[in-house]
């Protein structure tokens, strides 16, 4: 993933404390490692239409503490496999945040309060800003720690470690 990468897509908006059980329910996640199969159930318990509605390149937008709950890495993986380009939230739960970076799913910490369902957003990770094209508004992204930015740039922890042979702080 290039540093200057600009993402553009529609917002799917949720509230605070979206937990990993809502992202992918325990009743599915133990069954298979087929993430495309699991992605059909992404957000099912709180938004049954999500999997059918989401378009490649769209964004999940939420309030505080997105991804709280379990450590399941299936959570960022199914979001990625559902075609979501990035998750934007006011804050993230720590394990989800780290897992998302490890799996190369951009997580964007910013003020999401002005974003409404269906708004078209442009996320500029390099410049650190989110432009709401529907509402003509710009918010700044809280920058990632350098080590996380490096992992994300490599597309995840696996390719990062293969390239560097270890952690470089």
């Amino acid at each position: 993933m290039a540093e200057e990468m600009i993402l553009r897509g529609k917002a799917h908006v949720y509230g605070d404390d979206i937990n990993t059980d809502y992202i992918i329910s325990g009743k599915y996640k133990f069954k298979t490692l087929d993430m495309d199969e699991l992605a059909r159930h992404c957000m099912e318990d709180i938004d049954p239409e999500f999997a059918a509605r989401v378009q490649p390149g769209d964004f999940i937008v939420a309030g505080e503490n997105f991804g709280c709950g379990s450590s399941r890495e299936q959570a960022p993986l199914v979001i990625k496999h559902a075609g979501v380009a990035a998750v934007l939230a006011k804050s993230f739960a720590r394990i989800f945040f780290r897992n998302a970076i490890n799996k190369g799913l951009p997580v964007v910490e910013c003020d999401t309060s002005g974003i409404r369902q269906g708004d078209v957003l442009e996320v500029d990770l390099g410049a650190g800003k989110v432009t709401n094209l529907t509402r003509n508004a710009v918010v700044e992204i809280i920058p990632l720690p350098a080590v996380m930015m490096d992992i994300l740039k490599e597309g995840g922890l696996t390719s990062y470690l293969k390239k560097h042979g270890g952690f470089r702080l």
């Binding site: 009743k27 505080e64 394990i95 080590v147 952690f167």
Partner: protein, 417 residues
Amino acid sequence: MGLTITEKIFSNHLGRTVRAGELVVSEVDFMMGQDGTSPLAIQAFRELGGRRVHDPSRVVMVIDHSAPSPLEGISNLHAMMRRFAAEQGVHLYDVGCGVCHCLLPEQGHVVPGDIVIGADSHTTTYGAINAFSTGVGSTDLAAAMLTGRLWFKVPETLRLVLRGTLPAGVFSKDVALFLAGKLTADGANYLAVEYGGEVISSLSVEARFTISNMAVEMGAKAGLMEADEKTLKWISRRTARSFSPVAPDPDASYREVLEFDLRELSPQVALPHRVDNVKPVEEVEGIPIQEAVIGTCTNGRLEDLEVAARILAGRRVSPEVRLVVAPASRQVLLQAMEKGVVQRLVEAGAALVTPGCGPCVGTHNGIPADGERVISTANRNFKGRMGNANADIYLASPATVAASAVAGKITDPRRLL
């Protein structure tokens, strides 16, 4: 300025003074994966080009979340774990051994002063025995299996001082729920929590695990306690490893120190669908329930089953209620059998299931029907958590769950004890 328990544990591992906020790469003393997370970790280990686990004696895998397997897909993932463990010389706790978070301390794998990671969010549990232990994802576990190390941001610490003694009928679960209600689901996000005060000293080590287990329900990265005489006695009986306990400096620098006086605490209940939606039992008594669950990594230990048996002895589970009991480990089950606890529970009408996670995570062992209400000793009540988004889950102590199972409705256990 002095150091917190977390800062000291990291300083001991790094061989220099480390403070909150620093990014460090540290040796990991012990690591664990369960059946919901190990398959992805094995996959990531292969993708990393991993051939040999760095130190197999520092890794275990546990089949507990869906054990025994209810589905062929799950069976195949369990088989994948067994193959990997055999190939790498990693110990695997198979079906029937119990819940990872009961097993690791019980089997002496974790000691005070350790840095432990587990591919399960409730890995915070071992903080109760003075280890810095935290939940990670599968890829982090894979990286640590391969290199023996992992990067950490040393967290700031929130110190919670719990004053007084708990009234009769009030247990460590009530404390954990009370704190989740006060601090909310992200009140300790990215922070280590240190628990102190007379309440913690007065609790058994088993009861303390319940509190550290639920640190993550406030977003915490770890939930640490000091090692006292009780801790040392408990550990010494279980491990051959040497260790040195870590206490915080009196002038340690905390993000915040909060004190709670718990002398008047009531039994607590978390209402659907949030762990921090907590009310005293008096305010929710009388809500009818159809299923009751005693077990899980939060409350499936011997004294949890004992208090339930005390309430159920000579009484019957309501005909309107299924009571599912899942001991947290085989050892817990054996001790509960020896002490007649299992006899009393089963005679009262409990359905005993395999030591493991039980119905907590919605894969098997008691998925509720549409519109049903469940009261459980687990740590999460999210919508759909137990496998049906049209059911409601209430969380409470083993005593409250047992009393509610008898009455068929949410009930204050103090009247039945």
